[in-house]
Symmetry: C2
Subunit: 329 residues, 2 copies
């Protein structure tokens, strides 16, 4: 049964408030990886932490902070939703290696080395040329490995991602992306990347963001579950999970912040276009976190056992993060 398991959504960025937390608890999701920041600097990241501290203080009956996987078990026992934090860019570091440990201690458990553009560490998937990991990037990978901050390459370009898998002494994740073999998109990942990731013990979270799916917002649950089944055939089920990329109740301004940050005077439409610049329509079978239940059923229908399904819906994230968040020995 769905409710017997630890259910993890490996990427959300919703308009966080009590009404949303009520919906989240109702959905049966045990814990979420919440995007804390997109392009915020170190100082601005501290404000985002402070805002969350207030949310935890004001909603103790619904949510609780997660610093390790034992907190997820605790959240399940107490009927709350656990929240752990990640950054979608390396901007919380500014230009400073020492910020890795500082941010980790504050509760930044996961960090992408880039968003869509070139960062100080690596190249994003929207750049024309990918030069791989920079001098600073090598130091940051080593430091993240040391303190137990998980590397996420969801938005990074191919060469940078392959180099990171190789340079990192610990498995990395791609928290929210799909195989480009199913849908060609700059944000999706080649079989080469998925294989390399899996061989080194990394994790791929399947995305429910329509721009990452075949047929976009018309992608069926069956088609989505086939995608998982095909990938499981390629790399096994232990390396697969969900990172829905759910962005609920966010205004257009948030989409523009994600896409444009402060780097562009003219609007950049990211995965959209001038004629399709808004949020994509939600999948009918994944209107919000309650869709996780539909995926559970869809995977069972596809032939996955309950144990296998529970791994994909949460168990694999738990195992991966339990190891990845420990400091190096």
């Amino acid at each position: 049964m769905y409710q017997d398991h630890l259910i993890i959504d490996g990427l959300q960025y919703c308009n966080w408030n009590r009404a949303y937390f009520e919906q989240l608890k109702e959905s049966g999701v045990t814990a979420i990886h919440a995007t804390l920041v997109y392009h915020e600097t170190a100082r601005e990241t501290l404000t985002r932490f402070a805002e969350w501290n207030l949310l935890f203080e004001q909603n103790p009956d619904l949510i609780m902070p997660v610093m390790s996987m034992s907190d997820v078990v605790k959240a399940k026992e107490e009927g709350k939703v656990g929240v752990f934090f990640g950054a979608q860019n390396c901007s919380p570091l500014d230009d400073e290696i020492g910020m890795v440990e500082v941010m980790r201690k504050q509760g930044l458990l996961i960090m992408q080395l880039t968003y869509n553009n070139q960062s100080l560490l690596a190249t994003g998937c929207y750049e024309k040329n990918d030069s791989g990991i920079t001098r600073f990037g090598k130091q940051v990978i080593e430091e993240m490995n040391r303190v137990g901050m998980v590397i996420d390459m969801s938005h990074s370009a191919e060469r940078s991602t392959l180099e990171t898998i190789d340079l990192s002494s610990r498995p990395i994740c791609i928290s929210h992306a799909n195989p480009s073999s199913a849908h060609a998109a700059l944000r999706n990942k080649s079989d080469t990347v998925i294989r390399a990731l899996a061989e080194r013990g990394g994790l791929l979270g399947f995305s429910l963001y329509p721009f990452h799916l075949p047929d976009g917002s018309d992608c069926t649950l069956e088609r989505f579950c086939s995608l998982i089944a095909d990938t499981a055939e390629m790399v096994g089920i232990d390396r697969l999970a969900i990172g829905s990329d759910l962005c609920l109740n966010q205004p257009q301004s948030v989409l523009e912040w994600m896409r444009n940050g402060r780097w562009s005077k003219s609007l950049d439409f990211g995965e959209g276009s001038a004629s399709n610049s808004g949020w994509p329509a939600a999948l009918p079978w994944f209107p919000d976190s309650s869709g996780m239940k539909n995926i559970f059923k869809g995977l069972r229908d596809k032939g996955f056992s309950e144990t296998e399904t529970a791994k994909i819906l949460g168990g694999n994230w738990i195992e991966f993060l339990d190891a990845g968040l420990k400091p190096a020995e």
Copy 2:
């Protein structure tokens, strides 16, 4: 005569204080391009400006700020040394396109797109791979062109430099570097770059930093002047100038800030090495700004006319900056 001309040193980063300004005035240099920051953020850059405002307030008999080339003429008339500012990295922008105009208004006339490492805009000369100008970099080049902030590629890698020469609608400079044909060093420039720079009306400032010279601190004045003569033969004298890279009275900590910023936990030795980690010994004929007089004489001895020599020692910088600092029409 040397003292009849406007003498410009196109790059200095000394320990700025009254004693140094007295020496500078005594040397007969009319104006200097002073490095304001290496890796300082936007906020930190404002503090550097404030520190200089105080220096101008406290030393009005010796120095004055330069916002356009008419200020250099005024400095000469008043017997003061003009000071104009540049950044050796794009860190004053943080990640924000709007900072280009803000910093230009504050008095940042020149900016390098990178120091030695990958920046958000382009690749530095110490990186293994050079992916050229990034998406943000293209926007910044366009904006610098618009507001009349001069692009400097002294520390950038070859492909990034060639792309910038091509992308920029206005000539760019390499304020302090030498031809790598005379001395192979990551910081020096290939004939391909020097030719492309000159063809588009750009300016090359010859460096007196021993690591950039054949024979290092033993390079003779005659050898240095030959270097200029050889390059003049290649691209003409109008595109050549001086950017001494003079770093006087600076402690080791400044050298470490230049080389390491905040990006490295272990010491990076830049152009030095573990066994040679300090400031290089000064050239005997360029112990401080008074060495400009020796170069004047050296170039005359090499066969340059007084008019030609005066162009290389200052006139070319004046003409280049006079055009480059005007906002686009």
